[in-house]
Amino acid sequence: MENKLVDHLFRHHSGKMVSVLTRIFGLQHLDIIEDAVQDTFIKASLSWRKEQPKHPEAWLTKAAKNRVLDIFRTLKSQKNNLPDITQGTDAIAINELFLDSEIEDAQLRMIFTACHPKLDPRDRISFALKTVSGFSTKEIASALLTKDETIKKRLMRARKAIHKSDIQFHIPQGKDLPMRLESVMEVLYLIFNEGFHSNSKTQLIREDLCSEAMRLCKLLLKHKQTRLPECYALFALMCFHSARLEAKTSVDNEVLDLKQQDRALWHFPLIQLGNTMMHKAVETDDFSCYHYEAAIAAEHLKARTFEDTNWSKILKWYEALHQLQPMPSHLLTMAVICIQNKDYSKADTYFKQLRPEDLEQRAYLYYAAKADYSMDTNDKKNAIKSIDKALQTVTNNLEKDFLLKKKADWLKNF
């Protein structure tokens, strides 16, 4: 009996094989392909019980190749016009598709398929996690905090869209590439954020999603057509955030903000990798929002203590980010930074550009910031007024406790 398998071997292999087989048989046969790949894992899990192969990955690949022939027979019996792949040059060509570089190419095709504009943006994430990342619907549902049924519907919808629009299984070329790449990066960014920002998930699910997003982003960086500065910036951003993943939760699984985190727990090698990526990202002067977000994250990591944080620099990056991608939440953040910096007149200019309703369900953050602002400028009456408004609109209990405690402190010192 051998030692443990590589972590996530099956999950990753599933994504690889589904992609390669789709390249051979086409997207219209995705259902058969997914079942076939699932079969190879069942076979492995049974036959490996007795004896584990020396090279598990090679075993799985060989099993998948054999499944190609099975699938071919199935399809042939359904009277499809298919080339004879069992012999001759076609058979050699198929063998070549199982080379590592070709597997990566197939996976990229799958990512680009998942991010096709004909797919509903919400369906893209689910479809990518299923086909490229080898997650089951149940795993996707728990990762995205939705019901199993919802994910099943999203996957069905994605598949229908692919059939209906006859989407091709390729990496878009020419002027189609930049636009689609943008959508790909957005999906990876969202998968990462699902992992990084959610407070109600277990550490394990968080790590799974973050590392999956990073793995796929790395695939983009390996390919010469998709190796663009903004991809490097996105990867740098992911490195910087991941470096803090462990420090982000307390022993009791409570979320800790930057002020409370134990900075000794930050993962230094990831910060270094992020820096290297960032250097590559700034080789041209063309900056994306990922550049600015990474710069902000890097600035936070540079500070030895929370008090050392260079807020003026962070504010500068936020201003640049807001110009490129105007968002109410950026304005609020900038106001909070100015309060932190005791630059109250500047904070006021940001508040004036904002309406609390712009922040939708997070309007309480506006009122809470406004309350801090009033308190710091010695306007206690308005501070209490604002914090009461924040308390009326807040829904999260942890946040509510935090605000109540703050209010009590203020009233004591009245």
């Binding site: 699932q38 007795k50 149940k138």
Partner: protein, 110 residues
């Protein structure tokens, strides 16, 4: 030890889940092997051909069509039922509702 219950293929397990179960099977098998009690064992495919009655009626079935199926067995050497029960604690698939049946090979006195 005979393993009875649902097949992985009918439960829609994820690749990640299958890998973690398989690792538990490795660990269990390794433990028995190291203890020097493992005498054999096989996993069985989920196809069944059933022959019933004096007419010898034949039906072909798959695991999906039956409530439970024998998925495999381990042949081990142990002192008594209690000793095997102890070993069977490590069976990886109790959480799927699957069962271990301990049976003894009948030994005839000469």
């Amino acid at each position: 030890m005979i393993f009875v219950g649902k097949e992985y293929t009918d439960l829609g397990l994820s690749p990640e889940d299958m890998q973690s179960r398989m690792e538990k099977w490795f660990a269990w098998g390794g433990k028995m092997e190291q203890a020097g009690i493992l005498r054999g064992g096989e996993a069985l495919t989920p196809q069944i051909r059933r022959i019933v009655g004096k007419n010898r009626t034949v039906t072909d079935l798959t695991s999906a069509e039956v409530k439970e199926i024998v998925g495999g067995y381990y042949l081990i050497e142990a002192k008594d039922f209690d000793a095997v029960e102890e070993i069977a604690q490590d069976f990886p698939d109790y959480d799927l509702g699957n069962t271990v049946e301990i049976r003894e090979i009948m030994v005839f006195d000469k």
